[in-house]
Symmetry: C2
Subunit: 418 residues, 2 copies
Amino acid sequence: MLTTNINVEKQAIEAKKASKKLSILSTEEKNEALITLAKTLETNYETILKANEEDLAKGREKGYEDAFMDRLALSKQRVFDFAQGLRDVAELEDPTGQIHSQWELENGLDVKQVAVPLGVIGMIYEARPNVTVDATGLALKSGNAIVLKGGSSAITSNKAIVDVMKQGLEETKIPTDAIQFIDSTDRKATQELFTMKEHVDVLIPRGGGSLIKAVVDNATVPVLETGVGNCHIYIDEHAEVEKALNILVNAKTDRPAVCNAAETVIIHKAWLDAHKDELIETLQKHEISTHGDDFAQEAIPGTKPAGEQDWSSEYLSKDIAVKTVADVVEAIEHIETYGTKHSEAIVTESEKNADTFMKLVDAAALYHNASTRFTDGGALGFGAEIGISTQKLHARGPMGLPALTTVKYMMSGNGQIR
Amino acid sequence: MLTTNINVEKQAIEAKKASKKLSILSTEEKNEALITLAKTLETNYETILKANEEDLAKGREKGYEDAFMDRLALSKQRVFDFAQGLRDVAELEDPTGQIHSQWELENGLDVKQVAVPLGVIGMIYEARPNVTVDATGLALKSGNAIVLKGGSSAITSNKAIVDVMKQGLEETKIPTDAIQFIDSTDRKATQELFTMKEHVDVLIPRGGGSLIKAVVDNATVPVLETGVGNCHIYIDEHAEVEKALNILVNAKTDRPAVCNAAETVIIHKAWLDAHKDELIETLQKHEISTHGDDFAQEAIPGTKPAGEQDWSSEYLSKDIAVKTVADVVEAIEHIETYGTKHSEAIVTESEKNADTFMKLVDAAALYHNASTRFTDGGALGFGAEIGISTQKLHARGPMGLPALTTVKYMMSGNGQIR
C-alpha cells in the first residue's frame, strides 16, 4: 500500500478553492494554459516514459494479459498524442458563459440562464493513462478543477503525468491546485471521495462494470454514470443482406473491446432461414464465434449454446450471442431484458418496424441501418468526450464539454419585488 | 401501521409497463386525459373532502400546529383549484418529441437528439395533498408514470385523490397503472423505492431537510434534489435605501414559510451606520425579529445574539439573522459557508460589486436589485414546477416540464459503418 499521508479531504478542499479562481478565467486564458500543458508534456516525455516503465515492469510481474499491457504502455508518440489532444480541446468552443436562454418578466426583471462550470470533478478510472490527460483537459477547458483517482496498475505513470502538468500550470493563470492526484492504491481513498458532497460536485467513474457499480451504489456525491455497453444489432425480416452483414461485422469486429461494439445479434427467423449461407460465410471470414439459442444453433454450424451469461454480459472479443425472434416486438423485449441502455441498432427496410424500434427501445443511442460504433464523441463531431453516459439525468450518450457545466439563473432588476 | 399487503416492487413494475404505453401517446391524447382528470376531481370533490376530514381529525388529535393543519385542509374551492391546475398543465407545451439538435455526418448519417420521457418518477413528499395532483399532472403531461409516496398525515386525502384520478384515467388513453400510490405509512416502503433502479428512473423528494437528506444519502436511484433555501439578501455599501428595504421586506415577509424567502440579511457596516434609523423603523413596522452579530446587536435595538444555528438554518418565520460585513467578499464568504445554493441577492448601485457577486456566488438563482421570491416556476413563466432544484446536475433552479425528460440520440442511415 502506498497510502501514507494521503488526505483526500484536504485535496478536495484545495481543488474547490482553485475551482473558484479557475471559474472566472477567460476562454483565452484557459486555452493558453492548455497549450502550455501540451508543450510541457512534450518537453518532459522522457520522465513520463521512465515512470511508465515501472508500471509495465510491475504489470509483467503480475502477468497481466497483452491487451491490458497494451493499454498501459506509453511511447514518445503516445505522449505527443496526449499533447495534441490538449491542443484540440483548446480549439473547442468554451461552453461556459453561454446564455442558454434570456427573457424579461412583465415587471422588467431580466432573466438569464447562463452556463457555468460544475466546480470540482472527481474522476475515478481504471488502467489507461490517457484518461489522466484527456479528463484534465476537458475539465480545465470547462472551468472545472479535477480530482484524479486512477487505477493502481498505472499509478506511477499517472503521477508522473500529473506532476508534469502541474509543473506546466505554474506558468499559467490556472492555479496548480486545480489538478489533484490521489496518490494511493487504497480503496478507502476512493471511498472518501464518494461522500465528499461539500467539496466535490460530481463523480465520473470510467472503467469496468464493478467499478461503476461501486461508485453508483455508494456515492452520495452525484454521479455521471458512464457505460457498460451490452449492445444489440437486430436484423429484421425486412433487412437488406449487404447492409445487415456489413453493420454486423463492423459493430462486432472493428474494435471488439469498446463499449459501443455489438455483443448480441438478434435475427428474425425468416431472415435467418433465407440468408443462412451468406451469414455463415461472413461469420467465418471474420472469425466471429457464435453462442446462440436452439434455432441459431441449428442454423449456424459451430454455434455453442447460449445462457444467461451470454445474453447479459459483454464479450469484448470476437464472440457474439445470437438470439432468434419472430418479430420486432420480441427483439425489443430481449433488449429491454438484457440491454444496458447504451446503443441499439435495427437493420430493416420497413419504416414501420424501424419506427417501432426507435420509439420503444429505451437507450442513449438508437440506430436505423447504421453501426452502433458511432456512439462516440469523436465520431459524432463533439471533438472530445469525457465518457458515454448510460444514465438519463443531466447527460445521455457521449458527453462533450457542455456535460461538464451547470447553469445559474442570473436576474437583474431595479428593485423588483413580488 | 397501515402496511399489510403493500408490494412496492410490484407497483413500480406496473408503473414501468404503463410508462411505455404512455410514452408513445400523442400530446392531444395526454391533454384530453388531463382534462378528464380535472373533471373527475370536480365531480368527486365530496369524496375527497370526506377523506380529508379523517386526516384533519387525526391531525387535531395529534395537536398539529395551525400552519400545518392549514396546508392539510381541503375545501371545494381547493379541489377545484387542483382541477384548474391540471387544465393549466394541459395548456403547456409538450416537451417530449422536441428535437434539441439535428445534424448530418459527412457519411450521410442523420443524427437527431430528441427529448423523451424519463420513464417512471418516484415522488416522495410531505403533508400537502396538492402535490399529489400537481406532480401527477406534470408527470403524465411529460409522458412519465408516477409512483407517489406522500406523508402519513395526509394519507387518507392522498389516497382518495389518487382513487378519483385513477377512476378518471379509465376513460382515457393513459393506463391507470401510470399512477401508483404507495398506501403505507411504513418508512420501509419509502426505502424500497430508494434502490429500485430497474423500475424507477428518478426520485424527487419534496419536503423538509431531513426527508431530502434521507433520500440523497440512501438512494441509488438518481435523485432530483429539491431545495432547502437558506437565502441571503446582501445590502452593499452602495445600496439605494428604498430598494434595499423594499427587497428585504418582500423577501422576508411576503411568504416566510417558503424556500425562496430570505433567512439572513448581510449588511455592509458603513451602510448600516448610515441608514440605521430607516432600517429599524422598517423592521419594526413589519414585525421582523432580528438575531445578529455584535455589530448588528449594537446597531439594531432588540437584536438577539446569533449563533451557528441562526446562520445555518431556515427560520421560516418573520425572524431574520443579521450579519454585518466590511465588503462584498466577506458577504460572499458568509454565503459560501452557510448558503444552500438556492437564491441569493445583492442590492447595490455598484456594477463592479454586483458583477463580483453574480460571478462568484455559487447558487441556482442570483439577483441583482430584486427579491429572491422570484425563484419559482410560476413567477418565471414556466407555467408550473415539480420543485426547485438546488443540485447542479440535470436541472438547477425551478424545474418545469423539460426537467422531466431525457434525450435519445436517434440515428438514421443507409448502411453506414465506421
